[in-house]
């Protein structure tokens, strides 16, 4: 790098003031981005990576946030020192940004055309006709097929990937020199993620843009970045070319991060084990009603005739992209939503039982939900949360006996029992998920449905939770139905896998067979997108 870098962050700090306390979110970091280079900021949640990126455009909530030190030099000018008016010229013109959640970053009340045209008119002063022509050009560039037909579409009519493409089109409208991408693929399916990353890499090289890429996913970093800055607790602990970092990590945290992928093998599949849960021809159809008399004109077939068998001590993994019906299948099996078909639990058909008749069975049939922040009532201490099921299913226990059970189960899931009178907000995401698991385990269930229990967690915490689940399974001979879009977690935990798409099974079989020798194009595409971040030929996966 002989010439001066395009963006140079020098000694930047960000502090937040909350209830009189000042906390440093970013602590004296420095990095450079050269022209045409992609730099990735990697770190787990709370490491300050997004805050660093937002401060480049001064998008933080000032004056709650402040910069006690540092400079951000963009083409030689210090962005932190410029006034709001100057800054507005830079934002969206020289530096643009794309965000994580494409649904909420687009205005739901404006069509695609309106939103892209607005950017063009505002920053480039184009006339109506020119702006429309340029919009079409941009949409073409970001890979939206038949853009003429898409101009009048509203955000909700597009898929997640398409929405993110529109966001990219808006970001590119002014030919920026620097694109800041804040976890742009986190909310997307793996196959779509691969497509978007390919698009970004392609656009970058064609337009000689620089890119600041923020992510928690090391696989993406390896794929897309030229240089990496590893962040933790507000500091950059290691920075260097991507190849070197992956080949020869220097800092302990980087090594920890690289070693954090869920590992280990599921217990061997044993087809002789007793089936705990068997579903036959399960269908969940949501009727579409039209007209004055609400006639049913069609059905949304969320789950369309699926057979599953979950055996004691074994895990059935259900994978699929969002909207494939995997969660619906799980909820139907747990009798949380109504379905047709037969569901055998412990040899008893439970699909016709009423809510009250189901209650005694609930103790053996537990659910762990995806979001550990949403699934724990914020107004109950974790002891009360875990106690709730005991009060219903073992009403004869005295408070002391209950307390003992709570202490035991907390130890079992690796939490300090002394913390049981605290409230969920005092715990980290991983600890909360342990509480949610403890709530299920305290009842000694036989079947647990795990609905994406790791996807809201950081990579290193995911690995711990997977280990915990595996050891609990071995100890109590549990049957798991493990729902996830994350193939790495599934590979580490499931001995049988079904791949779902549009409510139907695409492929089912033992885990080794699915991952080692996938039979269908769709499964192959899914696996290569997940493990190698490669896109599949057009037509196999959705856009």
């Amino acid at each position: 790098m002989s010439e001066a870098p395009l963006l140079s962050v020098r000694d930047l700090s960000v502090a937040f003031v909350q209830e009189g306390h000042q906390s440093m979110a970013v602590d004296h970091i420095s990095f450079d981005i050269a022209k045409g280079e992609t730099v990735a900021l990697v770190g787990e949640s709370g490491s300050g990576k997004s805050v660093s990126a937002l401060s480049v455009l001064k998008l933080l909530p000032y004056p709650t946030a402040s910069h006690p030190s540092g400079q951000i030099l963009f083409q030689g000018a210090d962005l932190l020192a410029t006034n709001e008016k100057e800054l507005r010229r830079v934002r969206g013109n020289n530096i643009t940004m794309i965000f994580q959640e494409p649904m909420t970053s687009l205005n739901p009340l404006h069509s695609i055309e309106q939103q892209v045209v607005e950017v063009l008119k505002l920053h480039q002063g184009l006339g109506d006709r020119q702006a429309k022509a340029r919009t079409l050009e941009l949409l073409n560039e970001v890979g939206i097929r038949e853009p003429e037909k898409r101009l009048d579409a509203y955000p909700h009519q597009l898929s997640g990937g398409q929405r993110q493409r529109v966001m990219i089109a808006m970001a590119l409208a002014n030919e920026p020199e620097l694109l800041i991408a804040d976890e742009p693929t986190t909310a997307l399916d793996v196959t779509v993620q691969a497509q978007i990353l390919e698009l970004l890499a392609d656009l970058k090289s064609r337009k000689n843009m620089s890119m600041l890429f923020i992510t928690h996913d090391l696989g993406i970093v390896r794929k897309i970045a030229d240089r990496v800055c590893v962040m933790t607790k507000g500091k950059i602990v290691e920075t260097g070319p991507t190849k070197d970092i992956f080949a020869n990590p220097q800092h302990a945290y980087t090594r920890h991060l690289l070693a954090a992928e869920p590992k280990g093998k599921p217990p061997a599949a044993n087809n002789a084990a007793k089936p705990v849960m068997t579903g036959k021809d399960i269908k969940v159809w949501f009727p579409i009603k039209r007209g004055f008399f609400r006639r049913t004109v069609d059905n949304v077939k969320a789950v369309d005739g699926i057979d599953v068998t979950v055996r004691a001590g074994q895990t059935l993994g259900v994978v699929g992209e969002s909207g494939s019906g995997k969660t619906t299948l799980g909820l139907a099996l747990a009798r949380m939503i109504s379905s047709t078909g037969s569901i055998q639990f412990n040899g008893r058909d439970i699909n016709k039982l009423t809510f009250n008749d189901m209650r005694p069975l609930r103790r053996e049939l537990q659910i762990v939900f995806q979001d550990p922040f949403g699934s724990l009532s914020p107004r109950m201490s974790i002891s009360e949360i875990i106690e709730e099921g005991l009060k219903i299913h073992e009403p004869k226990l005295s408070p002391d006996q209950r307390d003992k059970r709570i202490v035991d189960v907390l130890k079992e899931v690796g939490l300090d029992p002394a913390t049981r009178n605290r409230y969920p907000h005092e715990f980290s995401g991983g600890q909360r998920q342990r509480v949610a698991i403890a709530r299920a385990m305290v009842l000694n269930p036989r079947f647990v449905m795990l609905d994406e229990p790791t996807s809201a967690l950081d990579m290193s915490v995911q690995a711990q939770v997977v280990d915990l689940l595996r050891s609990l399974q071995a100890k109590h001979d549990l049957a798991y139905l493990f729902i996830s879009h994350d193939l790495k977690v599934i590979r580490a935990l499931a001995n049988d896998v079904i791949v779902m798409r549009n409510g139907r099974i695409v492929e089912a079989g033992p885990s080794e067979q699915i991952f080692g020798n996938p039979q269908t194009d769709y499964t192959r595409a899914l696996i290569s997108a997940a493990f190698k971040i490669e896109t599949a030929p057009v037509g196999i996966v959705s856009e």
Partner: protein
Amino acid sequence: MSTAKGTAAATPELAARPRLSPLNQRRWQNFKANRRGYWSLWIFLVLFVLSLFSELIANDKPLVAFYKGDILFPVLVAYPEEKFGGFYAVTDYRDPVIQDEIDAHGWTIWPPIRYSYQTVNNAIPEAAPTKPSWLYDKKTLCNQYPQGDADPNCIVGNWNWLGTDDQARDVLARVIYGFRVSVLFGLILTAGSGLIGVSAGALQGYFGGWTDLLFQRFIEIWSAIPVLYLLLIIAAILPPGFFILLGLMLLFSWVALVGVVRAEFLRARNFEYVNAARALGVPNRTIMFRHLLPNAMVATLTFLPFLLSGSISTLTSLDYLGFGLPPGSASLGELLKQAQRNLNAPWLGISGFVVISLMLSLLVFVGEATRDAFDPRKTFR
């Protein structure tokens, strides 16, 4: 990490649950941080508790009397006049004859104000309504007593501190009793409508669908009924009284809370922790109480103080219009009506105004502090 912590605490010491949960402690801190609301609460509580013992503060009977060797409690027990040598069924302790009789054979302790809310002062210095006693000199004030300013009844205890109304009743006594009636009416009405409104809103929000649809349409029709007309009609059929009025108001005031509670339940009924509770087999009733009601309580508690002041002003305005409590009862609305008819007696209007505005302001300030206390985003520097 946390695994290590788990094994460290091998002997689980039973850390007792704090009496007030941290959340409620924070709320109480927030409430106290609003100084105006905090002081208003104390002032209101003192006034309210005092007014609960109105009979001991303003009454036309002695608190304790000693007569011929017996200790009597005329405030609590209605002694016939026979006991003191008379022949009426009810003793008028303000009658000089009875007073002389008791004084001759014992003594009496009077409350600080010797008038109840319907006691007529027979010795007013000029035609009712009369000015507050401290505006007269002693001679004029006592000119109606048999012995003039030398009369044993020409004492501070017989003063009309805020004057009398046009029926020669003591305004201060009426104001004290009126305050109590108003606040009690407001509290009962608020509690009642809170109970009905929260239950109705909870049921609609939780079950949704047809329950919600039908209930909402019913409420739309119900709240379109003109309450004042109905009160007029009912007043013509039923004798007006505290509880009839309360019941009638309750029929219509519960609607106010349904909206907020229903919205909270609708929003929260598919929260993941509610689903988690369902998956545990927790019955609907418990889910509503334990998981959903706390969410709705914030909105409800914020609303309640304003509902309370609303009910009080409704009662006052009904009294003012003459459709409220039966004639003769202590009511602030009636005081205002008298003030309007006797513009030459400003002490009526001023007393009524000060009491009502003080009461409502205190309640609104308390309400503001409550809202602060329950606002999760509120921070005090």
